[in-house]
């Protein structure tokens, strides 16, 4: 019952929100004073909004509205106000709107007709000019605000590869993409999400490579979102996922323009959101979450080796602590004899069972990691030293945990950081704990049970209709070239089948270089 009531209330709220916006949808008034009054009412108590009445050529009453700090004031003075105020007006010959159009020296000038148009323009930093006796206003593209300069992405560092990362400003981000894909086929559809934040969201794809239905689906899912505000891509992510309860991320969040570009070229769709450097790429698969952008810039042999290393450490980061528990408490015969004896020797003084020991250490490690992320830089190093000492040396010599346990925790910790996508790494890290519990209760059987459950879940998972485990399940033998190994670039001729079906080949075949080529 409670549910129903709440739903009804929600509906009412929605309607009132609609009403308010309906009022704003009204067209502009003819008289400048009416307009001015209306705007003063809308921007009541907004001291940063500047309404500047002036006269064009000393004859026509006009009003300039902009938000302080969002627009380029110098430009407004030089190319808008001074030409307009000094313009000579022939009586009644010219319409005011034509006059403004001809006098204002701003390239991005658009007509606005309603209050909501005006408000939208003003809030994005575009000054609006309204003139008396005219129902048309003009928005001028003179927005300028403080923005962070382009820096190397913090969360995804590379040794070889571009050092630029997205910033919080959407226009900067789209310009970076545009600079990478210099083709009119690169499409960017804009959209506003958030009742109050009115965040600009850009849906980007390459026309001709992308499946049109995918774009439609993305637009559909984004259109359904009705929330107060979008502060980060994570908010959007939770609204468009296929399985909202899964621990695995079903979108690829990245702040690297080169990764976005390569995915766009594979026929995927990127969602860029104003106010965050993280963009979302859909659809995504488990394997793309395990691939770093650098894989494609390194020599392919190394890239393959490192990919295998990553797969190995993925398993380690998920299973090593639980294997430790299972083998040490249920299957002692599985260890080599001398290893078991030294383990037994190390555990001789330990007061806790292996399960408790592992849980204790893993939770401590997670806490340490979490603290390290949040801490200011100056304290960070101090904490990591204390943490290393406490977890490593002191705990062992105090006889609280065994030395092999510390090794297990350390390797697991390192292993979880080899996964290039942070969101995937956290999923694995979280799943470790149920695995430890299963290992502690059912031994290796429990671990198998856990693995089966995870695999079943992964197999049912889809990201925008694409199976999460593809190309492994369903098996696409051809795509193993870019999954199990990283084949040399001149062999990666086909796009991934499930996203790049509409345009199969990304390059012409037979491009293997050799000194003989081209000499014939």
């Amino acid at each position: 019952m409670m549910w129903r009531i709440r739903r009804k209330k929600d509906k009412k709220k929605k309607q009132s929100a609609l009403k308010q916006s309906k009022q704003e949808q009204d067209p502009l008034y003819t008289h400048i004073t009416e307009n001015e009054n209306q705007f003063r009412q809308i921007y009541e108590d907004c001291s940063d909004v500047i309404l500047h009445p002036f006269s064009i050529g000393g004859k026509h009453q006009a009003l300039l509205i902009y938000i302080d700090g969002l627009s380029n004031t110098e430009e407004i003075d030089d190319s808008v106000l001074s030409p307009l105020m000094t313009a000579t007006v022939n009586d009644g010959e010219q319409q005011v709107s034509t006059l403004i159009k001809n006098t204002v020296a701003v390239s991005d000038t658009k007509e606005v007709h309603t209050f909501s148009d005006c408000i939208q323009a003003i809030s994005t930093g575009k000054p609006v000019i309204l003139a008396d006796n005219s129902q048309t206003g003009f928005s001028l593209g003179l927005s300028k605000w403080e923005k962070r300069s382009v820096e190397s992405p913090e969360a995804e560092k590379v040794v070889r590869g571009p050092r630029e990362g997205f910033v919080e400003t959407l226009t900067v981000n789209t310009s970076m993409l545009r600079r990478k894909i210099r083709s009119p086929k690169l499409k960017m559809q804009s959209m506003e999400i958030g009742r109050y934040t009115k965040t600009n969201v850009m849906i980007t794809y390459v026309d001709g490579l992308v499946d049109k239905t995918l774009v439609e689906e993305v637009l559909n899912r984004l259109n359904r979102i009705d929330i107060d505000g979008v502060l980060e891509s994570g908010v959007i992510e939770e609204f468009i996922e296929d399985d909202p309860h899964s621990p695995f991320p079903q979108t690829l969040a990245t702040e690297r323009p080169d990764i976005v570009t390569s995915n766009l070229l594979d026929g995927r769709v990127a969602i860029l959101i104003d106010g965050t450097p993280f963009s979302l790429i859909v659809p995504t698969t488990l394997y793309s979450l395990l691939q770093a952008g650098e894989d494609y810039y390194r020599r392919y042999l190394m890239a393959t080796a490192i990919r295998w290393l990553r797969y190995l450490f993925l398993v380690i980061s998920l299973l090593l602590p639980s294997l430790y528990v299972a083998v040490l408490t249920y299957h002692q015969e599985m260890l080599p004899t001398s290893l078991l004896i030294s383990m037994a020797a190390a555990r001789e003084q330990i007061p806790f069972p292996a399960l408790v020991e592992v849980l204790m250490m893993e939770i401590t490690f997670e806490a340490l990691r979490e603290a390290g992320v949040r801490l200011p830089n100056q304290v960070g190093s101090a904490v990591s030293i204390v943490g290393a000492l406490v977890i490593g040396e002191a705990a062992v010599s105090a006889g609280i945990v065994s030395a092999p346990m510390v090794i297990v925790v350390a390797i697991t910790g390192i292993a979880s950081f080899t996964i290039p996508r942070y969101s995937a790494a956290t999923a694995i890290r979280m799943l470790r704990f149920p695995m430890i519990l299963l290992a502690g209760t059912l031994g290796l059987l429990g671990i198998m049970l856990g693995i089966i459950m995870i695999v079943v879940h992964l197999a049912t998972l889809r990201s925008f209709g694409v199976p999460y485990l593809s190309p492994m399940a369903p098996m696409q033998f051809n795509e193993m070239k870019d999954t199990l190994v990283r084949a040399p670039w001149w062999k990666l001729n086909k796009r991934p089948r499930l996203t790049g079906e509409s345009n199969k080949y990304r390059q012409s075949s037979g491009q293997k270089p050799s000194p003989i080529r081209g000499k014939e």
């Binding site: 040490l328 408490t329 249920y330 002692q332 015969e333 004899t337 078991l340 004896i341 030294s342 383990m343 037994a344 020797a345 190390a346 555990r347 001789e348 003084q349 330990i350 069972p353 292996a354 399960l355 062992v396 010599s397 006889g399 065994s402 030395a403 519990l437 299963l438 502690g440 209760t441 059912l442 031994g443 429990g446 049970l449």
Partner: protein
Amino acid sequence: MKRLFKPEKRLLTIVLCCIPIFLSGCWDRTEVNDLAIIAGVGLDRTDNGKIELSVQITNPKAIGGPGMSSGSGQSGQQPVIVKTGTGKTIYDARSKLQEKTSRQLFEGHNRVIIIGKSLAETGIRKHIDFFARFPIPRLRANVFFTDGKATDILKVIPSFENGESAEAARELAELKIGMNVTTKDLLQQLASSSGDTALPKITASKSKLGEGLKVNGTAIFKNNKLTGQIDDKVTRGLLWLTDAIETASVTIQPKDAEGYISFKILRSSTELIPTIKNGKWKMIVRITTEDDVTENETKLDMMDPKIVEKLEKQMEKSIDKRIQLVLDEVQTGMEADVFGFGEAFERTYPQKWKQQEDQWDKKFPEIEVVIKSDVKIRRPGRSGGPQGVPQEKEKKK
């Protein structure tokens, strides 16, 4: 069904499904510190016919726990603890032993089984069953015979291997200087029709420097009972014959030179070829071996093919002699078929074997054995001719 999966109840359903997993609790969980890790087992027979089971339990404290520098161990701690229990069967004795042990006995890492003389004389087949049936012990454990009480071997504290005599015994077997028999091998041999088998003999050696173990000789079992023992030298012949030789050195004195020449075996294979002609059972033993020269005391030039050919001939004779030694002692002396002759005949002549199976015990000592060895000297070693000898004084043939 529909109601069960209402969204608000889904979580509850999942939780309910997960709870039974934890109902079992930590069922047969045993922490390592609650285990008595058995490294070796000794079997003896008491005077009143009971089984005496001795176990060698590793003492982890002696190896070194937290806070100690690795490998040092606590001084004054015995590296192993030997405990003994008696009972009607091995498992019975084990239960008695468990009563006296505060930790759970754990045979999962048992590496050696040592059979004492008293038990060996009454037959070993029925006792080995425990090691095949009880799921925890490994089938790869090495089996030894000792000419005294098995307990005494377990009590030896050798200088190497952290003072574990069981580990030392296993390492000795792995070197393959003597026989190397695992529980699995023993079970297979006992299951053969004759039930004849051989086990390496292990003895404790004491000197001023400390205690140690050595594998010297072999115990021969006829129909799973101890019938005799052969010494180290004869054992080598047995190894040649059973194709178990891996590391061996052969030293000969060339006829026409002073001093000895030593050879190291690189590869060797032995083939048993049984033939039955006119009702006469005959066994041809074909041995092919490749050797390297490792030491040359003589002045012979090892690069000379003629000399090498002569040496090969001489080595063949030396190998034949070794094998004849074991045939004399075991085939005709103890009449125990530890060479697998019976199996070889059974494989080649299944019909005739079936007719003669009952009389195999009588037939075995009478079988004529022909040894055909083929030695190839592959390399003269790092040096060619004799070292430290002027070129002109080298003996050329």
